[in-house]
């Protein structure tokens, strides 16, 4: 049933595709971190129109499947003249989708900072930008870092969805190998093990971070 020779034969190919998976995760997550913060700030805007529109978009993205969004970006956008590489489309899809979750995480972090911090910022004459960067965010982010880390791991494990828009990441590579040799067991098992090898240590590290954060606050 299990052929070690075959497994070692296909391992290098699959492992090299891991690079695509990891870079899609990293770039997508950085995008999600930045765009998520922008959503949060827009939703908090005093301008009711801006706030409602941003809130509507975020709810829409959060409540529709990532796979549908990926298809849309990859297959429908070109009809409006926007053709994207699979990697670019995938990273935008992931980043946008997860930005809506992160926006919610930022919001809860920000709301955990008491009104007194805003008032003292006014009393010391901070402008809006410096109130955010120097006072509010440095207090709002550390407590929610574990949650942010969780989304990072979840996103990593969702990257195989990108094979649906023809990105040759690790799952797609394993499938291609399987299709050419009619042996799927080894390639797919290797994919599972590689994900496990990366996400398990990450969640252990996250657990440590969580303990440190709760100790500090």
């Amino acid at each position: 049933m299990w052929d070690w020779n075959y497994a070692f034969e296909v391992l290098p190919d699959i492992a090299s595709a891991l690079w695509v998976t990891i870079s899609a995760t990293l770039v997508g997550f950085v995008l999600a971190l930045v765009v998520g913060l922008i959503w949060t700030l827009l939703i908090r805007s005093n301008n009711k129109i801006i706030s409602n529109v941003a809130d509507g978009i975020v709810k829409f993205i959060r409540n529709t499947p990532l796979l549908v969004q990926l298809y849309f970006i990859f297959y429908v956008f070109p009809q409006f003249g926007l053709s994207l590489e699979p990697f670019t489309a995938g990273v935008i899809g992931l980043g946008l989708h997860y930005s809506t979750y992160l926006s919610e995480v930022y919001r809860s972090g920000i709301e955990s900072v008491g009104p007194g911090q805003w008032e003292v910022a006014t009393a010391l004459n901070f402008d809006t930008r410096k109130t955010w960067t120097r006072i509010i965010l440095p207090q709002a982010i550390p407590p929610v870092l574990p949650v942010i880390g969780n989304y990072f791991i979840t996103m990593f494990k969702e990257t195989p969805l990108l094979s649906a828009i023809t990105l040759v990441e690790i799952l797609q590579t394993a499938q291609n190998i399987g299709a050419s040799t009619f042996r799927y067991t080894e390639p797919l098992t290797i994919v599972g093990v590689l994900f496990l090898l990366l996400s398990y240590p990450a969640s252990v590290a996250l657990r440590q971070l969580e303990i440190r954060v709760t100790e500090r606050y």
């Binding site: 008491g114 007194g116 911090q117 008032e119 003292v120 006014t122 009393a123 010391l124 004459n125 901070f126 402008d127 410096k130 120097r134 006072i135 440095p138 207090q139 550390p142």
Partner: protein
């Protein structure tokens, strides 16, 4: 008499339908120390928060050194709501110490005091550190410079908060019940610091307090608030020992009776 540093002109404040301040006229002279007393809910905090721009004014004007705080004059000399820049410029003359300190928990004591001089005033880091240390020395907490607020007692926190406000060199410093969140045994150390500032500084002080003895000690003038109005305003000896308004007499009597054990 010189130009007042702060002037309230017919200031009114509503929270929705609730009128909290009722057409108040009031002046603070440069260097003057004014205490505000009065029953809870009479509008003292709101009165002070308008000056710190933490609440929006409903009607009337406030002037700081002759500049409108909440308004700007357009080309015709008509008043229009102040721009953010104007508000920030005038507000830079005012500082405030809060009942609950509101130190920055993510910064050390020294960083708490240095932060605004560097970030807001754009002062040189080294120089700001020096004046922050001088300020901490002044409130007796230089040895705590590298600790975090969570490790301080309430009294120490409030002394840091005072240093943080003072380092900005405000012309008017507001204290809103600076000791009422403190354990009784920690009140003295904070009052001593405020007394020092009052004695040596040319900073004007607006002190909201329930500590009558302290008000008498530091204030040049006491104003009595009741129902959103200043009912009586004068030197401490007059207000405390020769009150005229029945409401003030009542307030003082009730105060003497309920005041807890001697300190």
């Amino acid at each position: 008499m010189s130009e007042p540093i702060v002037r309230y002109n017919n200031v009114t404040k509503y929270f929705d339908d609730l009128q909290v301040l009722d057409g108040i006229d009031f002046e603070i002279q440069p260097g003057e120390k004014v205490a505000l007393i009065g029953p809870s809910g009479s509008g003292k905090t709101t009165f002070a928060r308008l000056l710190m721009t933490l609440e929006e004014i409903t009607d009337g004007t406030i002037e700081v050194e002759g500049d409108y705080l909440w308004h700007e004059q357009d080309d015709n000399g008509d008043l229009k709501p102040a721009s953010t820049d104007h508000l920030r410029k005038v507000r830079s003359n005012i500082g405030m110490v809060f009942q609950h300190f509101h130190l920055f928990p993510h910064m050390t004591v020294l960083e708490n005091v240095m932060e605004a001089p560097v970030t807001v005033q754009g002062r040189d880091k080294k120089e700001a550190k020096k004046s922050a240390e001088d300020m901490l020395d002044k409130v007796g907490l230089l040895d705590k410079a590298d600790t975090y607020p969570a490790q301080l007692s309430g009294g120490q926190k409030q002394r840091v908060a005072i240093a943080r406000a003072l380092v900005m060199d405000p012309k008017v410093l507001i204290f809103d019940e600076p000791t009422s969140a403190l354990d009784p045994e920690l009140v003295g150390e904070v009052l001593d610091v405020i007394k020092d500032i009052a004695d040596q500084g040319d900073t004007s002080i607006l002190l909201i307090t329930h500590e009558m003895d302290f008000a008498k000690e530091v204030a040049d003038r006491i104003a009595f608030f009741d129902g959103g109005k200043i009912i009586e305003d004068g030197p401490p000896s007059e207000i405390l020992y020769n009150p005229q308004a029945p409401r003030l007499k009542e307030f003082l009597e009730r105060f003497m009776n309920t005041q807890s054990s001697p300190e």
